[in-house]
């Protein structure tokens, strides 16, 4: 795990040393700010505003989540530093986990910045039911972690960041809307049920409502694990190549 920690540190440093992280964070905050203030009305309810914000900010994060991790492996392949990493005494899964956690850590900072919304609403007289706020943030972090895992996998497949971003966005979008897009509500067969279950969107609902459902938590953790395992295996094949 020490190697994972070193890689996490290195990637975090790389994020903050390059302008890309700041631009992406600024982009997300601007978008998120528009959405947040769009839900305010002359007689707002703080809980309702935040619930609506949680529901849609996940979709905005789909694009940010696809862009943030694409440089992680693709860039190393392009510049040739991946070869160095392969020759160092680091396991593939340590590389993948370190890079993934670095992106999650960066996102946590972004999440902390959005606490400004809570402070602003409290100052204006809003009263919070803190349970749904907690679950909303946990849900958002889990959902975005899925996008990061997909982005990381896409990044492992190609040397081009642009191609990785496209693959990542397409895959994330598919997982986001697979059920609602391809399945009619009244359809009840294994194919419809599987697609509905695989959709990321329905699983975020319980979090934004204020409900911790172990099934949804396990679902997100499963998807994250799956994509991280695939990424590790892709790196293994690249090492052999």
């Amino acid at each position: 795990m020490k190697n994972t920690y070193y890689i996490l540190q290195r990637e975090l440093y790389a994020y903050f040393a390059s302008p890309i992280a700041y631009v992406i964070m600024g982009f997300f905050l601007a978008f998120s700010g528009v959405l947040f203030s769009g839900y305010l009305s002359p007689t707002s309810d703080a809980n309702t505003v935040m619930r609506q914000w949680f529901s849609v900010s996940g979709f905005v994060m789909l694009f940010i989540g696809a862009l943030l991790p694409t440089r992680l492996i693709a860039e190393e392949q392009r510049t040739g530093t991946l070869e160095l990493l392969f020759t160092s005494p680091v396991r593939d899964w340590e590389v993948v986990l370190g890079k993934f956690l670095a992106t999650v850590a960066l996102f946590l900072l972004l999440v902390v910045l959005t606490f400004y919304y809570l402070v602003a609403l409290i100052v204006l007289g809003g009263q919070f039911d803190w349970g749904p706020i907690l679950t909303g943030y946990v849900g958002l972090i889990l959902l975005c972690s899925v996008f990061f895992a997909i982005g990381l996998m896409a990044s492992a497949f190609t040397q081009s960041q642009a191609v990785a971003a496209v693959i990542s966005i397409i895959l994330s979008l598919f997982l986001w809307i697979a059920g609602p897009l391809f399945v009619r509500q009244s359809e009840d067969n294994w194919w419809a049920n599987t697609l509905n279950f695989l959709s990321l969107q329905p699983h975020i609902d319980s979090f934004s409502k204020g409900v911790f459902d172990l099934r949804d938590i396990v679902f997100y953790l499963s998807i994250i694990t799956l994509f991280l395992v695939i990424t590790t295996q892709v790196l293994k094949v690249r090492r052999a190549d």
Partner: protein, 551 residues
Amino acid sequence: MNRAVLRQIGSWAGFLIVPLLIAGAIYFVTYGKFDLPLIIDLLILAVAAILYASTNPLTLRNQLGTQILGSSLSAIVVCIAAVGIIVLVNILMQRVTVRTDLTTTQQFSVSNATIEVLKKLKEPVKVTVFYTSDPNSGGDSARLQIEDRLKEYTSRTDKLNVTYIDANTDPAKVRQYNITALPTTVFEQSKQREMVTSSDEQEFTRAILRVQSNIQRRVFFITGHNERPIQLGSNGDSLSQAVQALKDNNYLVDTLNLFNFSTSGTITNTTNPNEAITLNPATDVLVFGAPRGPINETEKQKALTFLKQGGKALFLEDPLASMSTVPVERRDNVNDLLKEWNLKFSAGIAIEQDPQRRSSSNPTIFLTQASGSSGVLRNLPDIPIVIAQATQVENTPSSSGSDTGTFTPLLQTSVNSYLKTDIQNIGQSFDQSKDVRGPITIAASFEIATPITGTQNLNTRLVLVSNYLFASDQPNVGLDPASGSGNYFFFLNTINWLSESSDSVVIAPRQTNSHPFAINQGQGSFLFWSTFLGLPALVLFVGITVWWRRR
């Protein structure tokens, strides 16, 4: 045919291997059968594989020997294994319900009462949700609320079979069910059908209870003696919340004028004079809602006839209406009716001196905790029942030695209380010569067996509560569950016990946890600019600073 052509054909056959493998897998997963199409698919697959291997032996040998192929195969196996494990874990998780509703009001949880109802379901209940997918009608959000609610229910039982029907795509079904509003949820079991047009838990559970039972339990509020109105009144003494609570909990509620009640037990329906209905002592409950006028002898006999057949009644008293100073035409004489069973409401108002058992500002407002084994008190939540200006409920055993029934105190004041019999001088202290020392029984139930008539062996059941205010719309001392008292549950438990449906459940309406606050235009603008520009600008400023220093 020369060797090059053969090798080319073998290569083409090799290209077929993976598609055939995928097609076979999809077919098997879809239909779950190992039949002719799958056998043909596997045969072609085998022929293609043999053809490829026999015509391209060198290529095959070279590929199998490379490290990249070995790594790729190993990676594929690991990925397939990971998918398998993850699928298995998620399938197993679907069988486990571990949910925590962190909202303060438990907004997204079903009550224990509903869980009990669902556990007791023996036969499957068919649930059909009719909705509209038209986004302009706002149907989507309503359907989602219903879906959310039904998910809570289906996670507790496998006896609910839920189907969703889009009214736009299946109008024939809509006509078949005679659906008039969307969304509508239809609950069905055998020939019983209940329709619900909201996503409310009370409504859903009530519908499930109704489809299971062929019996319609009814509560009749007696009228004709200036009783408290069942429609919402302006001065808080109405019983509209009690009526709503009954309707929400599976009861049919109506008014009944004893004068129209014939001796055969048939009355004219007050809401539809052309329709006669028959009171059923087994399932119908009469409520005497604090009359302010005398019940005449004829009415009394009619009520006694019903009650002696095993009928049930709830007597809600207003101690101030039975005072001797009240003119006779406005005086309550319920005690004349209760005399039949040696029961009575005493004259007076109870005074509580224990600060833990009363309101801090008023010694006539009692915070009582129900205790005892009476069926009325079963499953009551552990919260105080608030009774204001109550008097004593008494039972004087008969000396004749015949069955005098079972009198069970339900609510009592403390030993530090007393009954002030002189209501005119209620401010004066305890008078040993006239007043009665506590504990004072302020609510009681009474049950007595009736002679066997026909096939039914029913008990007459009465509940006497010495002030009607606990079931009224009065703020703080009334029925409203939002006030935090247990009055709502006590009232419904009482009716459930009376109607001999003690298995019925009490579901309090869910309180909303909304705290709207006003935002003026200036504050709104500040929030917009600070979130849209302020925060991103701050982040970009930090980025530029880092870049400048590194430069």
